[in-house]
């Protein structure tokens, strides 16, 4: 009983302790930069979670990160470290625009166009990362390096397409594709300015969790992730698993790209490449590749990003301050992971010697 209580307390105290330590360190940094740390704390809280309006900002910043994080989190369960989120996101956005323009040009209904955009985005992102999986499985190419390099290819491809075949001639100084008709854009959730990307992100995180933890497919993937040889011996189709899970991960990032295009930009151009991919990698690692935790970590990161502006405007801190804050929080949360089971206060006490009578009755 007491041991269980101790272990629950450990799970509560360590992350809180990590955050408090991070805030203290960050406060020190602010003090050195000439700002009042307590004023800064209050401002961060106010800007990120303080009111419904500012919390919406946090949600807006968090939603692309949730989807993008799954591109790293899902393959990680199979033991693959994939950081091609940015590329998959860009390819997804590009394909979504191509699909959306084709469908709306053909006179498809709004829902059809949106569905088409989502499917096109997911397919493009999925195939993009599946290529990485295939290179890994069939040619033993390191998936981290290949996915990183594929990002550059995707961005170059985006620039080529919006500068050439897909260019809207009226977009002179910022080459862009033709815009998606206003009517086919994704709207915002009722009563808020948060777009449907948040819902898609939450659903995707939930589904990914279910897939990995509650299905035979997920079990097979985790097994292969634990020991590829053992999985092969057990007759698991490792190649198919690799391709499938890479496709799913990429599809999530592709969907993030579609959301950016269909809910925010309305067209494809260089603004698509806004580092949501790399943010997603960070989220996935902090969440230890757990899809449910990823949605919460995305929220935390979204809150931090949302507070970036107030640090500059109210406290005169440099624009990089928010990155420093993010770095400190994440380093300290990651470090705190290594403290589980190490702090004597949370260690289970050895069983007390019991009176001989008790021993007798127990046996």
């Amino acid at each position: 009983m007491t041991d269980r209580w101790r272990s629950s307390l450990e799970k509560i105290c360590i992350p809180i302790g990590a955050l408090v330590a991070a805030l203290a360190l960050f406060g020190l940094f602010c003090a050195l930069a000439g700002a009042n740390p307590f004023g800064v704390y209050y401002s961060i809280y106010r800007a990120a979670f303080g009111s419904w309006s500012s919390f919406q900002n946090t949600l807006i910043q968090a939603s692309p990160l949730m989807l993008s994080a799954l591109c790293t989190a899902l393959p990680a369960r199979l033991g693959l470290v994939i950081i091609g989120n940015e590329g998959a996101l860009v390819m997804g956005g590009l394909a979504a625009v191509a699909g959306g323009l084709t469908l709306s040009g053909a006179g498809a209904p709004v829902l059809g166009v949106q569905l088409g955009m989502a499917l096109a985005g997911m397919a493009a992102g999925g195939i993009w990362i599946a290529i990485v999986g295939a290179l890994r499985h069939y040619r033993a190419v390191n998936e981290t390096i290949s996915s990183l390099l594929m990002n550059y290819i995707a961005i170059a491809f985006l620039n080529h397409m919006v500068n050439g075949p897909m260019k809207d001639p009226s977009s002179l100084n910022k080459p862009s594709s033709y815009p998606i008709p206003e009517i086919d854009m994704l709207g915002t959730l009722p009563g808020s300015r948060v777009h449907y990307g948040l819902v898609l992100g939450l659903i995707a995180c939930g589904l990914a969790y279910f897939l990995i933890q509650r299905t035979t497919f997920g079990f097979a993937a985790r097994t292969a992730g634990g020991n590829v040889r053992a999985a092969r011996v057990a007759g698991l189709p490792v190649g198919k698993l690799t391709l499938a899970i890479c496709f799913l991960g990429g599809a999530c990032a592709g969907l993030a790209g579609m959301v950016e295009v269909a809910a925010v930009h309305g067209r494809a151009n260089e603004s698509l490449n806004a580092n949501y991919g790399y943010g997603g990698v960070l989220v996935a690692f902090i969440a230890r590749h757990n899809p449910l935790a990823a949605s919460l970590v995305a929220l935390l990161l979204g809150g931090i990003l949302a507070s970036g502006g107030i640090l500059q405007r109210s406290h005169g801190l440099p624009d990089a301050t928010v990155m420093v804050f993010q770095g400190i929080v994440f380093l300290s949360v990651l470090y705190s992971d290594s403290l589980y089971g190490k702090l004597p206060i949370f260690k289970p006490r050895p069983a007390r010697p019991r009176p001989p009578v008790a021993t007798a009755t127990a046996v």
């Binding site: 799970k11 100084n173 933890q213 925010v264 107030i310 405007r313």
Partner: protein, 386 residues
């Protein structure tokens, strides 16, 4: 037996949940008043400035931040600014926050990519707030009436910088490191080259497109390869010229700046630079607003553009390597540009594949639509837009 992974995931989930909650809570406990209050004395005009990169980038953003800084001390004005705001819906949130929290009634969105859809969306939502966008994209009847746009004809300054570069070059080969082959950039490349070729018609400009507004690695590679080829003056059109100017100095060749003053990065080789002078533009806008004029009541024009004449541009002070003769020629050109005597795009002008792009006797003034759609490189430029 329990599935061990379930435990891990639940722990993770709980921890994440607590982390998010505790984050807010722990901050609330440490709260003390930090809310910004408007400085007393009536209600000041609050103007918000948004930059896409850091304020000290020796480039595009620094030029705007210097313009903003020139407003300090104006009675009845409060400015707020935010740097490194990406061209995503983050910039919409920044504008909203400046309006809601800081009470801004004028927003200066300085990055080209902020306009569509971000500025347009916010302008619709806040019809009483004035949005000024740097880029000259406003179209009458298409865009909301509380949107204004401003931009400068900085190719005038590049033309003069080309004259200075031509005087300094002994190899008669100049280098131009450019981000993207878009009209605005091509116009600078062409004006720089046309300026240089007024001094010596045999001068050529090698242009390299890096493909990105900020790609320091490729900019450095381009600068080094140009120095290797024997090019002896470098200039550029990228967001931050820092790397190009520093590389030129290290390689012992001359450089000509862009956006802001980079003289301190290259004390020996810096010749001059084509700089924005946003301070005039911003002071002018503020004065008009303080006089009660707005975009909505027609007091402030929706589209404001200008060159040397209107005070939108300046040249960096001439460096030590600039001869008296060069200074004289440059100053003369600058005066003529300001007075309107000198027109840069005056036929006949051929492109670099021998086609006549501006017929003989034809003059294209700075406002000409043809120049906005430029898709060619002038004779003497080595490179291609493709």
């Amino acid at each position: 037996m329990r599935n061990p992974t379930f435990q891990v995931t639940r722990r993770q989930a709980i921890r994440g949940l607590l982390a998010t909650g505790a984050f807010g809570l722990s901050l609330k406990l440490g709260a003390c008043s930090g809310s910004p209050s408007a400085s007393g004395g009536g209600s000041p005009l609050v103007a918000g400035f948004i930059y896409v990169g850091p304020k000290d980038d020796y480039g595009y953003n620094q030029a705007h931040a210097e313009g903003r800084a020139s407003l300090d001390g104006i009675e009845g004005l409060k400015t707020v600014e935010e740097a490194s705001v990406p061209e995503t819906n983050a910039v919409q949130e920044t504008m909203r926050s400046m309006i809601d929290i800081d009470g801004a009634s004028a927003i200066f969105a300085t990055s080209f990519g902020y306009f569509d859809p971000h500025v347009l969306a916010m302008a619709k939502e806040f019809p009483e707030v004035q949005f000024f966008h740097c880029g000259g994209l406003y179209q009458e009847g298409v865009h909301p009436e509380n949107v204004g746009s401003y931009f400068g004809y900085i190719d005038e300054a590049q033309y003069v910088a080309g004259i200075v570069a031509a005087h300094a070059s002994s190899s008669k080969r100049l280098g131009f490191i450019a981000a993207k082959p878009i009209p605005q950039v091509l116009r600078n490349v062409n004006s720089f080259t046309l300026g240089a070729r007024t001094v010596d018609p045999t001068i050529t400009t090698q242009v390299i497109f890096t493909g990105d507004w900020a790609d320091p690695v490729r900019e450095a590679e381009a600068a080094n390869s140009m120095a290797d080829q024997g090019i002896d003056v470098l200039t550029c059109h990228v967001d931050s010229p820092k790397v190009v100017i520093e590389t030129a100095e290290r390689r012992g060749i001359f450089s000509s700046g862009y956006h802001a003053n980079q003289a301190e990065l290259a004390p020996k080789g810096y010749l001059t630079g084509a700089e924005w002078d946003w301070s005039n533009v911003y002071k002018n806008y503020i004065a008009q607003m303080q006089a009660g004029k707005t975009l909505m009541n027609g007091g402030i024009p929706h589209l404001v553009r200008g060159g040397f004449k209107e005070g939108f541009l300046k040249l960096s002070p001439y460096g030590p390597a600039v001869t008296a003769e060069a200074q004289q020629a440059a100053d003369a050109a600058k005066t003529q540009l300001a007075s309107g005597e000198l027109v840069i795009y005056k036929g006949e002008i051929k492109d670099n594949i021998g086609k006549t792009v501006i017929a003989g006797g034809k003059e294209l003034g700075q406002t000409a639509v043809e120049l906005e759609q430029m898709n060619w490189l002038a004779e003497g430029v080595q490179g291609s837009v493709g």
